[in-house]
């Protein structure tokens, strides 16, 4: 457990302060085209205050928002050999990596941290899409394994927040085997009887979705996130017809039984605390915002569609 003894590097918001002022003080909402001022956007958790579009949240912002008072401890992740295949496309993979590191000031796509969540110990593994599309290579696999082991050590729930296009193809088979490896990681958490919650953030696709991200005790999706195995364009090209409205979006997945709930980012922290409280069989923590029975909202599936499914002859080809 050497990596556990030498990791402690407290990252306290007060000490770090606001690190960087973005070059661009204004940003256009990709959904409604309104101009958003960066400070306002940050204060609103990167949610557009005009149309509620959830922009991608940098991993560190995510951690700051979720943990109690924004305090958390990042763990130093195990060193991995970078670029095991000496891969190059138009550029060398190591150069892609260096660019991503320089741009993001992060070593890799996944950050693992522990802290308190509603007073409970909790471990969060958060992906940052801005780091090479949050793609899953050896480093991400190691991060998930480290996160799982830390959760076990602390007898704490594990919360994974994928935001990832899928496998890091520049690592070839090294990236494909991260599917079984991350599954082994979350298996360890489940076998220890600890909660494993997945927060599906935009986007979660490919091998990332088809591994640890679909095996949670609870699946929460952020609104309108793209969640799917095969890219929409590939499907469209294969079947040669337009895709249904809302296809591979959070709400669509809720309708089709793949996630438990779609939760606004502002309510995510409260939802996680409540779930963890109950799964860990504890009295409500001070942080829990009790639900009024009037708030309970059972999602209404599109029953018409359900019936269409049952009536249809089970012809797989016709179905696609």
């Amino acid at each position: 457990m050497s990596w556990l003894t030498n990791f402690v590097r407290p990252k306290i918001r007060a000490l770090v302060g606001k690190t960087d002022v973005p070059d661009n003080l204004w940003q256009k909402c990709p959904a409604c085209d309104q101009m958003l001022f960066h400070r306002e956007l940050e204060n609103n958790l990167f949610v557009c205050n005009h149309c509620n579009h959830h922009l991608r949240l940098p991993a560190l912002k995510r951690l700051e928002h979720l943990f109690d008072d924004g305090y958390y401890t990042r763990i130093e992740l195990p060193e991995v050999e970078i670029d095991p295949l000496k891969f190059r496309d138009r550029k060398r993979y190591v150069d892609h990596l260096k660019d991503a590191q320089a741009k993001s000031q992060q070593d890799e796509a996944v950050t693992v941290a522990h802290g308190k969540l509603g007073g409970h110990d909790a471990v969060i593994a958060a992906f940052d899409f801005s780091f090479m599309g949050g793609s899953m290579g050896v480093a991400a696999g190691q991060a998930m394994i480290a996160a799982a082991r830390l959760a076990k050590l602390q007898e704490a729930p594990l919360i994974a927040v994928p935001s990832s296009g899928g496998a890091r193809m520049q690592e070839g088979m090294f990236s494909l085997v991260q599917m079984p490896r991350t599954i082994l990681a979350v298996d360890e958490v489940r076998e220890a009887g600890l909660p494993y919650v997945v927060v599906l953030a935009d986007p979660t696709t490919g091998g990332t979705l088809a591994s640890f991200a679909m095996l949670g005790d609870i699946h929460i999706a952020e609104p309108n996130a793209t969640i799917g195995f095969t890219g929409a364009r590939v499907i469209e090209r294969t079947i040669g017809e337009a895709l249904p409205e809302g296809f591979q979006r959070s709400e669509y997945l809720l309708d089709h039984g793949m996630v438990d709930m779609v939760v606004n980012r502002h309510e995510l922290r409260g939802t996680l605390i409540r779930i963890i409280d109950m799964l860990m069989r504890r009295a409500p923590s001070a942080e829990v915002v009790p639900l009024n029975s009037g708030d309970i909202e059972i999602p209404t599936p599109k029953t018409a569609e359900l019936e269409k499914e049952t009536e249809a002859a089970v012809d797989l080809a016709a179905d696609d």
């Binding site: 891969f87 496309d89 138009r90 494909l176 079984p180 082994l184 091998g207 499907i235 793949m258 696609d320």
Partner: protein
Amino acid sequence: MRHFLDFEKPIAELEGKIEELRHLSDDGDLNIADEVSKLQAKVERQLRQTYAKLSSWQKVQVARHPERPHFTDYVKALIEDFTPMAGDRTYAEDAAIIGGLGRFRGYSVVILGHEKGADTDTRLKHNFGMARPEGYRKAKRLMEVADRFGLPIITLIDTSGAYPGVGAEERGQAEAIARSIDTCLSVRVPLITVIIGEGGSGGAIAIAVGSEVFMLEHSVYSVISPEGCGSILWRDGEHAQDAAEALRLTSQDLHGLGFVDDVIAEPLGGAHRAHDVTTHRVGDRVEKALRELVNIDGGVLRARRREKYLAMGANGIG
């Protein structure tokens, strides 16, 4: 008519000549017979030379060769009393992955794998070996039956990938693949995997997380198709060959990197030229592995498999 790959053109021409000469030699002309055997020796030499130095991209072509032995050929050659099992007990039967009970050289086993089909009808029936969630859920069910009754599992991998369809996504392609991988990792019986053709990404690894993983000499196994990788990373459709090299997807590459436990030699000119030789070599290698694994306690088998994948690629060295 044999199907020839682009780089097999010289061989195709020689074999065409042999055919012509054979038609002429109905009356047993000795000169022609002599010429035929000379040409045959030449074909053999050409095949040996060509197949000894196939590029990664050429191996992709061989791995996808339409006449390559498919799952059904292995079952016919190696499995007695094959008793297919159908359906995922939830929605449908998906013939892209087939499997069932059978006897393999004295062992009762569960065998399952992708079937691409061999002609238009069977290709459509098996959806070109591209499974939907139901296929992976059936695989999971079959592996669980094997686990319950202590039967070794043999999986044969041959798919370009999971099926990209609307229904497949709606019914949880990703979840089905994840559960299938989880099942591979969890069973307490020997699980032997052979990549017999194309190991296409998540749709392949879903049933390929074996105690032992073998590859046929000219099969390929990759996180993404070379075409897909080329178009994403090089941003055009012309770099599939470069991508094939860069991805290190051949059996030799993957054996060297530690992802594959052994490479099974193919007959001269590739598996498609001699189905019997190929299927029996695969059978022999699987049998050898099985003999070693059946004596190991189930819990140990499971723990070892999990250790193997935890260690795999942990620090970049497979």
